[in-house]
Amino acid sequence: MKRVHDWLILLHAVLPPLGVRTFKLFCLKVAGAARGAASSAVFMRCKNLLSIGAACALSACADPVHDDAVAKLGGEEAGVRPGPLHRPGQPCVLCHGDKGGESEFSLAGTVYVDAASKTPIEDVNVTIIDSQNRQFVAHTNCAGNFFIKPEEFEPDFPIWLSLDRGSVLREMETPVYRERSCSGCHGDPKSLSSAGHVFLIEDPVTEPLLPVSRCR
């Protein structure tokens, strides 16, 4: 995190002198097209606009809160390459969202077998019904992960979710109003401000035990 800030400070120090010279040359050309007294006014206006634009662009590069949240996720797990199987249980859309820079997801998360374990479960249907009553079904992979790309389905919030596999159906009681990562609300451990991880089997006595994932 500190390194990001150090880089930003360096950028702010180095870019303005470079930028001012570039803007000056560019605006001199623009102003050259205008004649007489209008020429200097055009030059000043051009330079001011470019400076403001550059300042806005620079400030937009940094979101320390987002950077901090990403940094807290830590590195990749040993032996798991970035891809559909990586980082189960983490807030996917932190990186796979409009601020993250990775391919964007409409919704993503991880499903585990039960509340007590962190064993992922594959082939679970994740059914989403949005406020327009449109339905989309995603499927978990062997890491328990599922993800929906905007080109596949862009839900209109609020959305209602349910999980099913075989004869087991688990419906989420509350709708989701805007969070696109399951673990945004379903982080571990379960606490006063978190519902605990997403799971399929609530009662192993009455609900059949299902074969679990093969990739781990």
């Binding site: 019904i129 009553n133 339905q135 989701v176 805007r178 609300c185 379960k190 606490s191 006063l192 519902a195």
Partner: protein
């Protein structure tokens, strides 16, 4: 006016100005008729819990209008401990906290509505979920729908549990 009489005039003027001053409430001086009814809040709170208080919205500890209860953010204390945050029903302490959060959102404006009969449509509590005022959660209700009626009637001393219960008991939608 003689110079000797100036202090007297100043005192009378000051008293007169005090009389014209605001009669808005001060901390700890509100009577029950100046606030929306706490005894009606359980059903109003249940409707708000359903529509507003999920963990991704007003069930977040970092938000204003912080709401507590089943299905969202939980509030535990030695007197009313929350054993299972996901399963325990909403406690009286959580309802108290949500009520205080709701009436504390815009105390002066709320007081004008409840105690002086001002137009409730000025309140952010209605304007935001109606989408009239910027609301991160977008438009959650329309004027006259069940949640809107639940809130407006409660704010205007005409609390009716029916629309609130309608919101609370809204079934999951079916796919087209």
């Amino acid at each position: 006016m003689s110079a000797l009489r100036f202090p007297q005039v100043f005192v009378w003027l000051s008293l007169g100005l005090l009389g014209c001053g605001s009669t808005e409430p001060q901390a700890g001086r509100l009577s029950e008729t100046q606030l929306p009814a706490r005894e009606q809040f359980p059903v109003v709170g249940a409707a708000m819990q359903r529509r507003c208080a999920t963990l991704d919205c007003h069930g977040q500890a970092t938000r204003n209008l912080r709401l507590y209860g089943y299905g969202g953010l939980r509030l535990s204390s030695p007197e009313t401990p929350i054993v299972d945050p996901v399963a325990d029903p909403t406690t009286v302490q959580e309802l108290d906290a949500s009520y205080e959060s709701t009436i504390g959102l815009e105390p002066e404006a709320l007081w004008r509505v409840v105690a002086q009969g001002a137009d409730p449509n000025q309140l952010s509590l209605l304007r935001k979920p109606r989408g009239i005022e910027k609301h991160k959660g977008g438009e959650l209700m329309r004027t006259g729908d069940a949640l809107d009626r639940c809130l407006v009637l409660w704010l205007t001393h005409m609390a009716d549990p029916a629309p609130c219960e309608q919101v609370r008991d809204t079934p999951r939608p079916e796919a087209n």
